[in-house]
Amino acid sequence: MLIFDLSRPGRRNPAHAPAAEASADDIPPHLRRRQPPALPEVSELEAVRHYTRLSQRNFSIDTHFYPLGSCTMKYNPRACNSLAMLPGFLARHPLAPEALSQGFMACLWELQEMLAEVTGMAEVSLTPAAGAQGELAGVMMIRAYHRARGEEGRTEMLVPDAAHGTNPASAVMAGFTVREIPTDAEGDVDLEALRAAVGPRTAGLMLTNPSTLGVFERRIDEIARIVHDAGGLLYYDGANLNAILGKVRPGDMGFDVIHVNLHKTFATPHGGGGPGAGPVGVSARLAPFLPVPMVAREGERYRWLTEVDRPQTIGRLSAFAGNAGVLLRAYVYMRLVGREGMERIAEMATLNANYLLARLRAAGFEPAFPGRRATHEFILTLRRFAKEHGVTAMDFAKRLLDHGQHAPTTYFPLLVPECLLIEPTETESREALDRFVEAMAAIAEEARTQPERVREAPHTLPVRRLDDVRAARELDVALAEG
C-alpha cells in the first residue's frame, strides 16, 4: 500500500501547520500555483504506521549480517547519531558567524587532523559529500596541479580494470581520458602494461589498495615509482581503507591524493543509499588545490578557510561545507575508537575475512585468488555451480536472503565470473560468520539437489524475485495522479 492510497481529501495535521492563516496575496497571481500539489493527506498516526511498517521491510545492519564486499557494512554506533543530533548542532545555520560556531568548528578541525594522521597525508578537506565527489575533487586537484606547472598535456588518467566504476567516471567528469590497465593472474596490476602506458600524457593512476579483488597490491612501491617517474600522480581510492588502518598509510605508500569514505571506514550510516562523506587528503604539493571551505585553527579560535585564503583551490563542491552531520558522526566514532583502535580494526577485519574464507574453502567453495592472502574481503567464484547446476551467483545471493543473511556483492569486480565479493567487517562475531558458512553450505547442497529452489529464491521475503526487465521497459517511476 502506498502512502497515496491512505490519502483522503481534507485530512489534516494541524499540529504541523502554523496556527495563524497567513496571507501571500502580494505575490502576483501569474506566479502562483493554481492547484495545490497532490501530496498525500494522511493523519500523523497513518504516516507513522505506514513508515514504521515500511522500515520493517528492509534488511539493515541493525537487523542482519551484511557481508557486502567493498561496502564495509560495519556497526554504526548509536552514540554517533544521538550526539550529532544534539539541538545545538541541528540548529546551527551554515552561515552563522564564527563566534557562534566554535564548538562545531572544533570538531571539524580535529577531524581534519585525525584523518590526515591515519592516512599519512599533509592536509585534509572535509567538504566532498560522498566518495565519488571526493574522487572528483581528487582528480580535479591532479588536473589543477599539472596545469599550475604548465603541463596541460597530461590528459590521461590510468585506471586498473578492476577499479570501482566511479574511478573512470570521475576521471571523465574531470576532463580526463581514461586508459585501463590490466590485472595479472594473481590479482596485481600488470606492471609491464603499466610501464607501457605511462608517458608525457599521464596525469596519474587511480588505485585501490587493497584492490577490489580483495588482495593487497604487493608491488605498490614499484607502481609508485613508475607513475611518479613518468610525471604522474598517485590517487588512492579509500574504499578499502578499513583493511589497512593503522598498518600502512596511503601517504607512506607514495600516494599523493586520497579520498576516504566516512560511511565505510568510519562507520557513519549508509542510510539506505546515503548520505556519505568523502573527505580528501593530499600531500603537501597538492594542498593549495584542496576544495574549500576548510577549518583553520589560530590560537584558541577556529576560522573558515575560503577562496580568499586558498586562491588555487579547485573551488566549491556544494553550497555550504559538505555533509556536516556525517562529519560529526565520524568524529564521534574516531574519538571512541582512538589511536590503538584503528589498528585493531584492520586486524580483526582481516582476521574475519581470512577465517570466513578458510571455512568456506573447507566447505568446498572456490576462491578467485587461491594463492593470495585475503585482506578485509575476498572473492569466491561460483562458476562451477553455474556450469554444473545452472545456479548462478545471483541465485546464491537471493537464497541467502531467505537464510536471513544479506547477500555479498555480486558480479563485481566484473573480471571474475560468477563472483561473490565478501566483506564481513570487524564488528561481526565469529558466530555470525559461522552462521553465514552454514547458510552457504546449505545452499550449495540445495543447488546440487533442488536447484530450482535456489533459482526461484527468495521465498520468504515481502516479495519474490522482481522483474527488472519490466521495470526498465515499462518505466513507472512516479504514481500517476488521480
Binding site: 502576483p28 522500515s55 541541528l90 560522498a130 546515503g274 570487524e426
Partner: protein, 461 residues
C-alpha cells in the same frame, strides 16, 4: 576495543582455522618497509561518556541563536515524527537497495518520494536525490548539455541572481568538461533577470525562483525565451515555495525541461549545511540523461507489486567512464525524512507554512525598515526573503548581533560588491515570533544609533 566482539579465545580459534599463528601473519603481503603506526595527531580512545561530555559542551557552546538567515538553508519546523522514524535502524543502517527483495521499505519510500517531487514540480520524473542543491544544479547543467547536444553546444546561461555558492559549485564541476557558463546580469534596482537578455545559441538557461535575493523572477518569459533560443530551461527552485508558487512544469508555454534545487526545507534541520539533499526532476523524454538512482515499480514472479532500482545502465557501476555522472551515493536518509515530512504536512501544511514564512518575512522587513537608516533594496514581489540596506557594513552589524545570540542574516557585499557594504539578506521562517522580530529590530536600532548596549552581552565578541 569498542565495537569489536572478538575474545582472545575467538582470535586463537580463528587463527587456527586459517592455519596461521598470529594476526600479524595475515599482513604478510604488505611490504615491511611501508608499515607504520598511527601517530599523535590521532588521540587515544575515550569512552562514550567522555565523547558525550565533549559533544554536549560544544553543542551548547554554539547555542540556540534566533536565526534570521536564509540564503539557501532555512530554519523550518520539522515534526518530531520525521527523525524519530528516519533514524530507525532499518532505515538508518540499510545499504543502497541493490538487493531489491531485501529493501522494499527503502525502495517503496523512494518511489513515494519520486512521486511527491514530480507532483510538486509538475514534471514527470524525479530521481532518488543528489548531494545538495548546488551540486544538483551542476548535474542539471551537465544533463541539459548532454540532452541538448545537437542544438545547444556547450554554452549555458546562468543568471547572477542564482545563489553565489551554487554558481561556484557549477563552475567547479562543469568547467573541466569544457562547458562555458555565461552569467546573466540583473538590475540592481529590481534584483531580477531581464528575459530579453536570454539569447541563443545556448544549450541551457538556468532560471531561479525565487532568486537568491528572494525576488520572484518572470519565469514564464524566461522559460519561453530559453525555448525560443533552442535551449533547455533548467529551473532551480525552493521546494517549499511550490506550495504557493507556480511549479516549473507549468512555466511559460511548455514548462521547463529540468527542475532542481535544495531539498533542505522539506524536513531537514539546518545542521551546519548538511547533509541536505538535491532534487532533480525532468520531463520523461530526458530520463535516460538523468544522473543518479531511480526507483521503478514492477512485479515479482508471482505478479505482486514490488519496487526496484531501474535504468541502472546510466550509472557508473555499470557504464563506468560512459556513465551520466560519477555519482553513486545519494542522500537516502534525507529523502526518507523528506518523504515523511511531506506526508505529515500534506498540500495544505506546505502551503500554510510557505505563506507563514512569507508573511513573517514581510513583518520582519517592516519592523527593520522602521529603524532609521534601513531600507529595502530591491523593489517588487518576493518570496520569504528580502534584501535590506543598512547604513553600516552588514558584516559588522551581524558580528554585533551575534553577541546577542541573533543570526541576523547574510551579508551580500562579498558576493555582490555592487550592492554596497550595507546589503543584507534576511529571512523569517514560520518559526519566528513577533517577539523575536521585535527583539531583532530593537537591537538593530540600538546598534545603528550606536547607543550603549544593554548591561551585559550574552557572549564575548
Amino acid at each position: 576495543m569498542p565495537f569489536i566482539p572478538h575474545t582472545e579465545d575467538d582470535v586463537r580459534a580463528m587463527l587456527a582455522a586459517i592455519g596461521v599463528d598470529s594476526v600479524e601473519a595475515l599482513f604478510e603481503e604488505v611490504p615491511p618497509q611501508l608499515r607504520s603506526r598511527v601517530g599523535e595527531r590521532m588521540p587515544a580512545a575515550v569512552p562514550e561518556m567522555e565523547v558525550a561530555r565533549i559533544m554536549h559542551r560544544r553543542a551548547a557552546a554554539d547555542g540556540l541563536p534566533v536565526c534570521f538567515a536564509g540564503a539557501g538553508a532555512y530554519d523550518h519546523h520539522v515534526p518530531a515524527a520525521v527523525w524519530e522514524l528516519a533514524t530507525r535502524g532499518e532505515f538508518y543502517t540499510a545499504y543502497t537497495p541493490y538487493q531489491a527483495e531485501a529493501s522494499q521499505g527503502t525502495l517503496q519510500l523512494i518511489y513515494e518520494y519520486q512521486t511527491m517531487m514530480a507532483r510538486l514540480t509538475a514534471l514527470e520524473v524525479s530521481n532518488a536525490s543528489l548531494y545538495d542543491g548546488a551540486s544538483a544544479l551542476a548535474e542539471a547543467v551537465l544533463m541539459a548539455v548532454r540532452a541538448n547536444r545537437r542544438a545547444g553546444g556547450r554554452r549555458v546561461l546562468m543568471p547572477r541572481t542564482v545563489h553565489p555558492a551554487y554558481r561556484a559549485t557549477v563552475r567547479t564541476i562543469v568547467s573541466p568538461q569544457g562547458i562555458e557558463v555565461a552569467e546573466l546580469p540583473f538590475d540592481p534596482a529590481t534584483g531580477v533577470t531581464d528575459p530579453a537578455a536570454v539569447e541563443g545559441p545556448v544549450a541551457a538557461v538556468v532560471i531561479p525562483q525565487p532568486n537568491y535575493f528572494g525576488r520572484l523572477e518572470e519565469v514564464d518569459a524566461l522559460t519561453d525565451r530559453a525555448h525560443a533560443a533552442g535551449a533547455l530551461a533548467v529551473a532551480v527552485v525552493n521546494p517549499l515555495s511550490l506550495g504557493l508558487l507556480k511549479p516549473p512544469g507549468a512555466w511559460g508555454a511548455d514548462g521547463v525541461d529540468i527542475a532542481c534545487g535544495e531539498g533542505q526545507p522539506l524536513g531537514v534541520p539546518l545542521s551546519s549545511g548538511g547533509p541536505y539533499f538535491g532534487f532533480l526532476c525532468c520531463r520523461r523524454e530526458h530520463v535516460r540523461q538523468m544522473p543518479g538512482r531511480l526507483v521503478g515499480r514492477t512485479v515479482d514472479r508471482d505478479g505482486c507489486v514490488g519496487f526496484t532500482l531501474t535504468l541502472q545502465a546510466r550509472e557508473q557501476h555499470i557504464r563506468r567512464s560512459k556513465a551520466t555522472s560519477n555519482i553513486c551515493t545519494n542522500q537516502g536518509l534525507m529523502v526518507t525524512a523528506a518523504t515523511i515530512h511531506m506526508a505529515l504536512l500534506g498540500p495544505e501544511g506546505l502551503a500554510r507554512t510557505a505563506a507563514a514564512c512569507h508573511a513573517n518575512t514581510a513583518r520582519l522587513a517592516a519592523a527593520l525598515t522602521a529603524v532609521e537608516g534601513v531600507e529595502r533594496l530591491m523593489e517588487g514581489p518576493f518570496f520569504h526573503e528580502v534584501v535590506l540596506r543598512l547604513p553600516l557594513p552588514a558584516r559588522e552589524v551581524l558580528d554585533t548581533l551575534a553577541t546577542y545570540d541573533l543570526v541576523g542574516g547574510v551579508a551580500l557585499a562579498g558576493d555582490y560588491p555592487e550592492l554596497g557594504e550595507g546589503a543584507l539578506l534576511v529571512c523569517a521562517t514560520e518559526k519566528r515570533t513577533e517577539e523575536e522580530i521585535g527583539r531583532y529590530a530593537e537591537h538593530l536600532g540600538r546598534i545603528l544609533a550606536r547607543r550603549a548596549p544593554p548591561c551585559e552581552r550574552l557572549r564575548p565578541r
